[in-house]
């Protein structure tokens, strides 16, 4: 279930292995992050997400394998951003700006985008966990990086804080390539277009989110304006791309297909030939959670 590597990748690793003593944290990871994508790295605790991001950021060395990162400016957000308590939020961002050569007026902009304008002149020691996370994010985007590596940017945030962080990531689309790790699957499903599913140090899936959720076998739910006639069910059953037709109620049934392409080309035609009123045809998309549990089980 590994899709074709995209033409232009910003980050590519090949057979990445990382061992900590006897623990193998990464076991042959070949990551391919397309330019301009928002890449969600999902995996259970201890899967190796932080290790992988650390290697991409140049903070850890792989035991073997190669890493290529094609970015001039990289913004990194650690899983628990921490700053000297006696600095103000504005000073933290100004420090990050000066170290990345960003113009001074950028600081105010990113602080506003992070919703921290009102708190900017308060000391960081008094910030909540969510404010620190947003401050960290502001500090990582102030230098206009072309690649952002975010380690669980929305973890431990309340729903409102999570919302703001997801919106921030969404707004970065088009400006930078974003790789972020998370075990909040809804978040990944919402903001990323590419996903890598990491479990026990191995990539179980990598590719576009859409492909992953449709999968190679899927179902369509068909609702008719009348009772479904036997001959239609029989006609569908004869198609080579149909695995099973399951009635839901008198007027609704589900068609399980083995070939999505063929189904999308022919399903409507089969229905039209049966001359029945069609109310709706809805593909049943798997949730990322279903796929994730399937792949990491």
């Amino acid at each position: 279930m590994i899709s074709e590597p995209p033409a232009s990748t910003v980050v590519a690793t090949d057979g990445l292995v990382k061992r900590y003593g006897s623990v193998t944290a990464l076991d042959g990871v070949s990551l391919a992050v397309p330019a301009g994508s928002v890449y969600g790295l999902v995996g259970p605790n201890g899967a190796g997400k932080t290790t992988l991001l650390g290697i991409l950021a140049g903070l850890r060395r792989p035991t073997s394998g190669s890493v290529r990162v094609d970015a001039e400016e990289i913004g990194v957000l650690p899983d628990t951003p921490t700053f000297d308590k006696w600095l103000t939020g504005r000073e933290v961002v100004e420090l990050a700006a000066s170290l990345t050569g960003a113009p001074a007026d950028r600081s105010a902009v990113v602080l506003r985008d992070a919703g921290l304008t009102a708190a900017a002149d308060r000391r960081v020691g008094g910030y909540s966990r969510g404010m620190l996370q947003r401050l960290g994010l502001a500090g990582s985007v102030v230098g206009r990086p072309d690649l952002l590596l975010l380690d669980e940017p929305a973890a431990a945030l309340d729903p409102a804080g999570r919302r703001e962080v997801l919106d921030l990531i969404t707004r970065l689309r088009g400006q930078a390539t974003v790789v972020f790790s998370s075990h909040i699957l809804d978040d990944v499903q919402e903001v990323s277009d590419h996903v890598g599913i990491l479990a026990e140090g191995r990539l179980r899936y990598q590719g576009s989110l859409a492909d992953l959720l449709v999968g190679e076998r899927t179902r369509y739910r068909v609702e008719l304006g009348t009772r479904a006639p036997e001959r239609l069910v029989a006609a569908l059953g004869r198609q080579r791309w149909v695995a099973e037709v399951r009635p839901v109620d008198d007027a609704t049934f589900e068609v399980e297909v083995t070939d999505v392409d063929a189904a999308e080309r022919s399903l409507v035609e089969v229905l039209a030939r049966a001359e029945v009123p069609v109310r709706s045809i809805v593909p049943h998309r798997r949730s990322l959670e279903e796929v994730f549990l399937e792949l990491t089980a």
């Binding site: 060395r61 650690p78 000073e91 990345t100």
Partner: protein, 246 residues
């Protein structure tokens, strides 16, 4: 905001500079006073048992300050330095800094300002001791006093270098400070053995009263070794830190 300003702010906002100045000045004031009134104090405590003490000299005032400054003062200076120099004590902070600046860029201002903080504290205390001594016990030669101050400043540089070295072996501030203090204590004990001691940086620790008495000429070996060690610590530390994973 830049890395140099960050360190100046660190000293002031954490009030560490005031801790350093406070500790040293406290002993600076106390030193000459105890030296001057020790005979009376002991006599008062002795209750009739006659205590024969030679009359206090100006050097005793400086020596009293020195004894205390070498303990609590040095301890404070080492831990203040460790708090700034232990770059990797906190992963979240280390990632923030190390993905934006190189290790030498980060450490340069930290080492410099940790050392300046210690020297400012010690100097303030030493001048307090000088003032008290002149007032209560008599004058001391200023040139020798200044020479002794310079040796102590060099020794504090050595202490900061040991903090840097310790920070390449352990991460937490407490461990870094603890190891550095341990190294300084072991070297201090080693320097009690004269043939080796004259070469050790520890000979400079608290040399000020001996310098006021005997002059600076006996310290060149120790100065050479100390400067050499400080200079050598830098590349060693950078090499060790460049291979550390965050």
């Amino acid at each position: 905001m830049n890395l140099d300003r960050l360190e100046r702010i660190r000293l002031v906002r954490t009030r560490r500079i005031w801790v350093l100045v406070g500790v040293y000045v406290f002993f600076g004031v106390l030193g000459p006073v105890t030296a001057r009134f020790l005979p009376e104090l002991l006599a008062g405590l002795g209750q009739g048992v006659p205590v024969e003490l030679p009359p206090p000299t100006p050097i005793d005032g400086i020596a009293q300050f020195n004894g205390n400054a070498q303990q609590l003062g040095l301890l404070a200076a080492v831990f203040v330095a460790a708090a700034a120099v232990a770059l990797d004590a906190n992963r979240g902070m280390a990632v923030f800094l190390r993905t934006r600046a190189t290790v030498p860029e980060l450490l340069g201002p930290r080492l410099l300002w940790a050392w300046i903080g210690a020297v400012v504290g010690y100097t303030a205390g030493a001048w307090a001791a000088w003032g008290g001594t002149v007032l209560l016990l008599g004058s001391i030669p200023l040139d020798r006093f200044l020479a002794g101050l310079a040796l102590e400043a060099l020794y504090l540089g050595f202490a900061v270098a040991m903090v840097l070295l310790a920070s390449t072996y352990v991460r937490s501030t407490a461990a870094v400070g603890g190891i550095a203090v341990g190294v300084l204590i072991v070297l201090g004990i080693g320097s009690l053995y004269r043939p080796v001691g004259v070469w050790l940086p520890s000979a400079l620790a608290g040399a000020i009263d001996a310098v006021v008495r005997d002059g600076i000429s006996g310290y060149w070996r120790s100065v050479v070794v100390t400067v050499g060690t400080i200079v050598a610590t830098w590349p060693i530390a950078l090499r060790r830190l460049s291979t550390r994973e965050i």
